[in-house]
Amino acid sequence: MLGGLAQGFAGVLTPQALFFCVAGVVLGQLVGVLPGLGPAATIAMLLPLTFRLDPATSVIMLGGIYYGTMYGGSITSILLRVPGEAASAVTALDGYEMARRGRGGAALGIAAFGSFIAGTLGVVALGLVAPPLARMALAFGPPEQCALMLVGLTLVAYLGGRSMPRALAMACLGLLLGTVGLDPVSAAPRFTAGLLDLVDGLDLVAVVMGLFGIAEVTALMVERGTAPPRLLAYGRLRELLPTAADWRDSAGPMARGTVAGFLVGVIPGGTGIIASFASYAMERRWARNRARLGEGAIEGVAGPEAANNAAAAGAYVPLLTLGLPGNPAMAMLLGAFIVHGVVPGPLLLRDHPHVFWSVVASMYVGNLVLLALNVPLIGLFVRVLRLPRWGLVTGIVVFCLVGAYAANNNPFGIYVIAGFGVLGYLLPRAGYDVIPLVLGVILGPPLETAFRQSLMMTQGRWLELLSERRLALALLGLALAVLASGLARPRKAGSGPLPDHP
């Protein structure tokens, strides 16, 4: 591991890679403070900026955008009570109360330090866990791959959606949309309606930009009559530094949040929002000042922020070792890898070790950059919050247009973002979460290949094959158990329209 990491640092500590790492983190934070735009949409919009870069530098920059966005979201949670992205929703509970009581600076400071500590520890865990897991995954054949992807999809539906049947319906719609284009075996066109532009399938970048970016534009236009929320003061620079008492109260929540966040992040579907809610639930039980939670307790900021950032590091484990994106942002990073001719999965560490270790090393550097820039640049990020709504809308539209066009140098991508924009706006309002849909589109082609290969291997004797492939059988059993548990559980509160946080 140390040799690989040294190789990774050698790749990252070049002026070019360092520049793009810093640029990614700053861009991520700038966009992350804007309510509504999550990491997946941000990565999709900024993907064209990386087209001319080598694979490692490209993923370093996009990774910087990812965890920059995760931190940027907490600034709006604390100062506006409007989460910049979904994972920061919990931070708003105590962070905003702290800001109302004149301790906004301390809340922002502990969020920054908590994110840094948890993010760095999460990367250490990633470096330790990923190589053995990748070696193990090399032994997976088509039945195991197929079963693993089914586990991933059912977990995403179980953990993410408010209604398991609706989340699974969206996953199935995604799988169906993933079959648009040429058949992987016979090369016959399927569901293309005779359009040559659909022969290569639906472009993932355009799908994500439509579902999240254009849907957000529509939401901002619909809400145009509403007044923007009032921004609270955050104090001077030195007030951003937590006191000794703050550190004492925050150490336990940060440690618990880091462990829980990383473990949640590793599970497909285990997004930052689940990690931060899990951390908050733990603090309600174990925090020293748990009675004050919800009234401006620093533990309510430190724990969820640590969990959120540790989950961001944990989410790289299934992506880099199994090629399985656990959330839409990881799906976009998978797309970025593929655009640059690198396929994440068990073979990544063997075939492209410099890419793997550069990504890991860049996360150490990125976390350091986040901490170094967070505190001094907080005034800049707050100014971004004062951007008028119409300015925000035109900015999102122009980046979506360029991204959709640049994906294939063809205006067809703009029709795709227009179509998926309507879906991304209306489906959550009808109770359908679009995140399983994105993962279905991503996993559709590899799942179909593994499914058909598995069926061909069995030649009609699939029960016999499963009895020989114990791991595949166990994974299928797990998928069925998750499915049964999700369908049997009572409906979660408010399973009507969903909030639109990608």
Binding site: P48, F51, R52, S163, P165, R166, L168, A169, C172, L176, T179, D183, S186, A188, R190, F191, I214, V217, T218, A219, L220, M221, R389, W390, G391, V393, T394, G395, V397, V398, F399, L401, V402, Y405, N409, P411, I414, Y415, I417, A418, G421, V422, Y425, L426, L427, R429, A430, G431, Y432, G444, L447, F451, R452, L455, M456, Q459, R491, S495, G496, P497
Partner: protein
């Protein structure tokens, strides 16, 4: 019917796709899985889970499409469709500037024309220079080129 349009639409998509996959592409071919098998399974899953959702969440309340802002969603889609059709002819800078003026005025009807036009022109020109000249993305110039 109120708020059930999405459910019915998804059911229709699932049924149509399942029929197309089984009828046109086939579920088996020469003893092996046919081209239509996987899409059929996905479409059948879509129908099954939408129906299950309707049964499990039958008391769910959703706003109607119009109340949820469906009109604005349709307008944004139409604008983007027109933009995509005009792009090869008008070119990126002109088509984008026009679209951005319309979008800015829709987002804030009280915004002055001078401000909307100047911001749209600057944004269209800046992104053209960044992506086409700086990053080599071949954005079309249309008749201007």
């Amino acid at each position: 019917m109120r708020g059930r349009l999405a459910d019915l639409g998804l059911l229709a998509v699932g049924l149509a796709a399942a029929g197309h996959a089984a009828g046109v592409h086939g579920l088996r071919r020469h003893g092996a899985p046919g081209d239509g098998l996987f899409p059929f399974v996905a479409a059948a899953g879509l129908v099954l889970f939408v129906a299950l959702g309707l049964i499990v969440d039958r008391t769910r309340r959703c706003p109607s499409v119009a109340a949820a802002g469906g009109g604005m969603a349709a307008l944004v889609t139409a604008l983007l469709g027109l933009y995509a059709a005009a792009l090869p002819h008008a070119g990126y800078p002109l088509a984008t500037a026009v679209l951005l003026v319309v979008v800015a005025k829709l987002a804030n009807p009280r915004l002055g024309w001078t401000r909307a036009v100047s911001v749209a022109v600057v944004l269209a020109a800046a992104t053209f220079l960044l992506f086409a000249r700086g990053l080599g993305v071949p954005l079309p110039l249309g008749r201007l080129g």
